[in-house]
Amino acid sequence: MDFWQKVLKLDRRWIFLVVAIVVVVPIIWPLGLPVFVTPDVRGVFDEIEKLPEGAPVLIAFDYEPGSTPECDPMAEALLTHCYRKNLRVVGVTTLPVGVGTGENILAQVSQRMGKERGVDYTFLGFKAEQSASIVGLGLSVQNTFQTDRYGNDTSTLPVLAGVEKLADFAYLPVVHDDATLDNWVIYGQQLTGVRVGSLCTAVMAPGSYPFKNAGQITGIVGGLKGGSEYEKLLGIRGAASNGMDSQAVIHIFLIIIMILGNVAYLITRKR
């Protein structure tokens, strides 16, 4: 068996082992690779940046625990930005599993930045039937969520002062790992005019671009790369930026083995 045949017959477990090494080494010894900001991420950042102090922002935490390595860094960067600007943050989710993930990251960042629940932020929780809840929020936030997740009356919460319906929110960033953005755009942005941004896993990013092209969303923060760009705009080096070292190295490795595999296939096929 010659070299090219060995390449084609290589046990995939050797590739898994090399991938593991390639991922772990930059975590232990960071490379500090540069991050370049794209206009798509700027579209979300600039929307938050131009908001006045005290403006209410509704953040939809529509992702499951399995997506936290990608979505948590983005959500953390977004929340840090909102709190730096002293915006009022209201969290909500249209997924049952979003309750844990959303509440967790919201509480973590709010505590770190010294924000008070009920005054600076709150979490409305989960409401069944995604499209109906968004339509309901569009008509009345207080009727859809009479209480927040902690049992407080939403009609008297200081963080929701002046907010009666979805259109009263200054911005609606959706942190998602599935197609919930479609519902937020169709029933939220289209029916009420609220401005929407997408912070999504890399798998969902291709599905967000048609909305960006049509002007239905302001920007896209896609995957760990998008999160690292947002962190760069904030001037911090967080989980997303540190993860990009491993991401870059492993992508180079994957490109090399894909080229190697295809060359091996073409050469052995010719014989």
Partner: protein, 236 residues
Amino acid sequence: MELTGIWVSALLTLAIYSFLYKDNPLYKLAEHIFVGVSTGYLLVVAWRDALYRDLIEPLGSDWGAGFLILLPGFFGALMFTRLFPRISWVSRISLAIFIGVTSGYAIPNYIQGDLIKQTEATIVPLYTQGQSGTASLNILILLVGVLTVLIYFLFSVKHEGVVGRISRLGIWYLMVFFGAAFGYTVMGRVSLLIGRARDLHEYSQAQYGFASIVCGVFVVLCIVAWEIWNRTRRRE
């Protein structure tokens, strides 16, 4: 409590990754735990955040508004008749209401937001004053892509001659899209691996009792023991 959670997290992560070597009992155990815990969690959230919060609690506080909540609650309860074959037909009433209402507000809004708005986005001038050449090229590429892919999906006309050549270009556009989507997918999966690797690296520190290292050694020993047991069994 947090330390226990970290040890459990490290052990289950490494048990799941042990599948990369071979399907084994430790992986199966972790998988079953995952399925069970996810189902239990969803049940609790469905009860606490939907049924109790939207049905039971409002009924307990205000019986006057009760009828408005009882009616949808009743139709929701009828859905459970699907579990009993003799009376499962009753659930069709609830399903009909649900499908009717959701279709009613979904169809016009999706036509407006997904079809008309997207079509609007392709009807843009190829050149406007002050626009860069790159932007014009992007608009042209977008327009050609939309038309050729739509023609590719037109199966009422045979794909030969001019139509055949145009749909071949549509296929090339689709291949580029699939390649880009696959690239994004690979990036996404790698990001998840990086996230877990970062957590395992953190949990290997002394403050967490070297959790990742101890759990890693334990998983390896379990697999070695299982392999030895398998080989002994095969020899017998």
